[in-house]
Amino acid sequence: NAGVTQTPKFRILKIGQSMTLQCAQDMNHNYMYWYRQDPGMGLKLIYYSVGAGITDKGEVPNGYNVSRSTTEDFPLRLELAAPSQTSVYFCASSYGWAGELFFGEGSRLTVL
């Protein structure tokens, strides 16, 4: 049971570089989410998707883009990385709005 798989687990970027954080789930969940966790700041929603082809902004979407071409995958694209994007990123999925979210193990990104 893989659940939610995120890659890479760690990455260091230089300012201005771009990269994609990958997220895949094998639970056939329609709902997927990207959160970032900064020290002492809890989990802030970046983007979410309620199904293939449908995405929407969360609380902190600036500097990020997402796509949802399949039910399984929900990649997060960082364009022109900035030090403020140094964080731990969590992908999650759920069957519906209500109830339990299943999280990946996280991707720690450092922008220098």
């Binding site: 959160y35 809890g42 709005w97």
Partner: protein, 111 residues
């Protein structure tokens, strides 16, 4: 918009004693509240939830209490164990929008 506030960033408790983690919320929409537990280098995992039509929900050593008049919920862990040391997030579930998380409380259970 609903907000959830965890005003204690950290808590230390002796093994075997009760741990009480608190969460306040801002509006009176009646839905669900959830607690998540997070270990270092892992993603959060669901722990326990409570519907706003209830005052209490219990699962083994974990009990969540909801005080609607005070807009306050609390998670009780009895007895506390060293393996309970983690960050605990409360979250609000409206049923039709993504979860809203608090900032978390780091619990340290001292043996």
């Amino acid at each position: 918009d609903q907000q959830v506030k965890q005003n204690s960033p950290s808590l230390s408790v002796q093994e075997g004693r009760i741990s009480i983690l608190n969460c306040d919320y801002t509006n009176s929409m009646f839905d669900y509240f959830l607690w998540y537990k997070k270990y270092p280098a892992e993603g959060p995992t669901f722990l326990i939830s409570i519907s706003s039509i209830k005052d209490k929900n219990e699962d083994g050593r974990f009990t969540v209490f909801l005080n609607k008049s005070a807009k306050h919920l609390s998670l009780h862990i009895v007895p506390s164990q060293p393996g309970d040391s983690a960050v605990y997030f409360c979250a609000y579930d409206s049923g039709n929008t993504p979860l809203v998380f608090g900032k978390g409380t780091r619990l340290s259970v001292i043996a």
